[in-house]
């Protein structure tokens, strides 16, 4: 049970900055997901919190205590690694016990915690096996068990699901979420998978180039992306980002009613409609290039007339449209996210600067 505070946290490798000043406060019991493309500094940030990377400048406070100079073991954290990092020569039980033994925990206490973790994660029957006799999912559980038995102030997850196959990943994602709800341990979770980030997070931290682009709940980030980067990164298929001029050209309107300074507009693929909606909307003339049925919905790749801009629509079912057909797509003004290309920020929220 603890809060984590990062204050102006910076890290550079020689002259190359990797993390360029991060401020973040994690509330007690909160699950924060750090998400971003590879090389955005999210793993470096997590490893700094863990104490595995040195800090160039700034402060890290765990439970109100500045831990920048502390050894990883003194920080009261537990970490789950991408490749599990189980000790291959020890049984599952020894793996779970190792950290506790090193801290001189009493035997009965160790046994109690191992039993509890075994029950929670359903790895009780495997306690006497070696890691190589376990499947990927089981190893993942053991890795989490090793974190749980520590009963730490915070869990740190470094892309823990990326070595699992797609089906298992979804299953483990749900389990991690349930587990975190149940234990109410403050957690930092790093992933590059935006779907994983959306589903797990209490709050999301979207990072790019060593800086935070936006902090907010998954719905906030999805519904009101603060920057062009976030708009393009969160959501699949990605949001369509169009210059205002292209929109004007395709709709036939000279001017659109958009906030001052707007020169880019973002529209989610599922906010386009093929039929004319009841509310007032903008009609865009376009040509169909490709229809991709993906099951319950279809992705329609079209090109806007008078400007040649490709956009992706996501429409329910399987529309009866042939390729190269000329269609009209509709979008409500309220579904358009206005951005300024130069600053990269939204233009309709005053002072909604990312921290």
């Amino acid at each position: 049970m603890a809060t984590i505070n990062l204050v102006d946290l910076m890290k550079s490798y020689g002259p190359i900055p990797a993390v360029k000043g991060i401020n973040l406060s994690v509330k007690d019991g909160e699950l924060i997901v750090l998400v971003g493309p590879s090389g955005c500094g999210k793993s470096t940030l997590l490893r700094m919190v863990a104490g595995l990377e040195s800090v160039t400048s700034g402060r890290i406070e765990i439970a109100g205590r500045d831990v920048v100079k502390a050894e990883p073991a003194e920080r009261d954290i537990a970490m789950v690694f991408q490749n599990y990092a189980l000790y291959p020569h020890m049984t599952v039980r020894q793996n779970l016990e190792y950290g506790l033994k090193n801290r001189g925990t009493l035997r009965e206490e160790i046994d109690r915690r191992v039993r509890e973790a075994g029950d929670i994660l359903e790895i009780g029957p495997m306690l006497d096996r070696k890691p190589r006799q376990l499947s990927g999912g089981q190893r993942q559980r053991v890795a989490m068990g090793r974190a749980i038995v520590r009963e730490p102030a915070a869990f740190l997850f470094d892309e823990p699901l990326s070595n699992l196959d797609a089906k298992l990943r979804v299953q483990m994602r749900v389990e991690i979420k349930k587990l975190q709800r149940r234990l109410k341990t403050t957690s930092l979770y790093v992933t590059h998978d935006q779907l994983e980030a959306m589903t797990l997070a209490d709050r999301l931290v979207v990072m790019n180039g060593g800086l935070v682009e936006q902090i907010g709940t998954p719905t906030e980030v999805y519904d009101r992306p603060a920057t062009l980067f976030v708009a393009g990164f969160i959501g699949s298929p990605p949001m369509n980002l169009l210059p205002v001029s292209a929109l004007a050209a395709a709709s036939g309107f000279e001017t659109l009613d958009l906030p001052a300074g707007t020169d880019m507009v973002g529209i989610r693929p599922d906010h386009f409609a093929l039929e004319t909606p009841a509310e007032p909307s903008l009609a865009l003339a376009a040509t169909v290039e490709l229809l991709e049925p993906v099951g319950g919905e279809s992705h329609l790749h079209v090109r806007l007339n008078n400007g040649d801009h490709p956009i992706i629509l996501s429409v329910p079912g399987r529309p009866d449209i042939v390729e190269a057909a000329a269609i009209t797509v509709h979008v409500r003004p309220g579904d358009m996210h206005p951005f300024n290309r130069e600053s990269g920020h939204r233009t309709d929220t005053p002072a909604a600067k990312p921290q």
């Binding site: 863990a50 991408q82 291959p88 190589r132």
Partner: protein
């Protein structure tokens, strides 16, 4: 390679059998010679069947040695060889484990230079540096002593290099997990690295024990007191008799005895040895 032709099978077996015969025949001859009486072996006709003097020959050479050649009883020489081989093997493994650990897991100035200096010593086996080494050992007063036999041979660049390569294959996350688990450098070494290197250590022990056991030139140089003779150089002394035919039956008995420990080591550690060379436990 998976063809099934009887002729090829026959041919391959024939080649293998010829190979085995070439290797085994001298050993067999030594064994036979060690069971005959004196003179029998140099009488012109080499016997191919065991003679009646086996127990007698072996007990003579084991307990009394060959005083005419100034050689002590074989058991003394075997003991010396054993001490030397085990100490060299154990010492080499300990030193190279620790130096490989330092080179791989610690950042210190001139780390790479240190590695290369160790590596370059591969080019300097005992034979190359024998005169300066002898001078140093003599000045330290270590002639005719176990230290003198062991110390100059105890550092191993090969083993350091092997352990370094093995440590490099261990994922960094394992070290990081251990740090989070509160294991300091020595604890990590003892609890994680050593157990993981077990098979490598066993394989190296076999190789290094044999290396120590067959040392010939160095013991020949630094020992003049027969109490410190080792078996492999001792055989040379046995065979070199001044004015008579060497007592081949006794020499051969000594040869057979000298072969035993390496053979036993290989037989009993074979499983670990092979495992250590082919698989890394991860």
């Amino acid at each position: 390679m998976v063809e099934n032709r009887p002729f090829l099978t026959l041919l391959t077996h024939l080649v293998l059998i010829i190979g085995v015969v070439i290797v085994v025949f001298p050993v067999y001859l030594a064994l036979i010679a060690s069971t005959h009486g004196p003179g029998q072996f140099v009488s012109g006709l080499v016997p191919l069947l065991p003679g009646p003097h086996m127990i007698e020959n072996y007990s003579t050479i084991w307990n009394e040695g060959l005083s005419s050649s100034g050689a002590p009883p074989i058991w003394v020489m075997m003991m010396n060889s054993l001490v030397m081989a085990v100490a060299i093997a154990v010492g080499k493994i300990m030193i190279s484990l620790l130096s490989a650990y330092a080179i791989v897991y610690f950042k210190f100035p001139f780390r790479l230079l240190a590695f290369w200096i160790i590596f370059i010593t591969l080019m300097l086996p005992v034979e190359v540096r024998i005169i300066p080494t002898f001078k140093v050992v003599a000045d330290l007063g270590m002639l005719n002593s176990y230290q003198g036999l062991i110390l100059p041979l105890i550092a191993s660049a090969t083993a350091t290099f092997l352990f370094r390569q093995f440590f490099l294959t261990i994922p960094d996350e394992l070290m990081e997990a251990a740090r989070v688990d509160g294991a300091g450098p020595m604890k990590f070494f003892r609890d994680i690295l050593l157990p993981l290197s077990r098979t490598n250590i066993a394989a190296l022990f076999v190789i290094l024990f044999i290396y120590g056991w067959v040392q010939y030139m160095w013991p020949l140089l630094v020992t003049s007191d027969s109490r410190y003779y080792t078996i492999v150089m001792g055989i040379k002394r046995l065979a070199a008799s001044a004015d008579s035919e060497p007592l081949w039956h006794l020499v051969m008995a000594a040869v057979i005895l000298a072969m035993l420990p390496p053979v036993l080591i290989v037989i009993f550690m074979q499983r670990l040895f092979v495992k250590g060379l082919v698989e890394t436990e991860k």
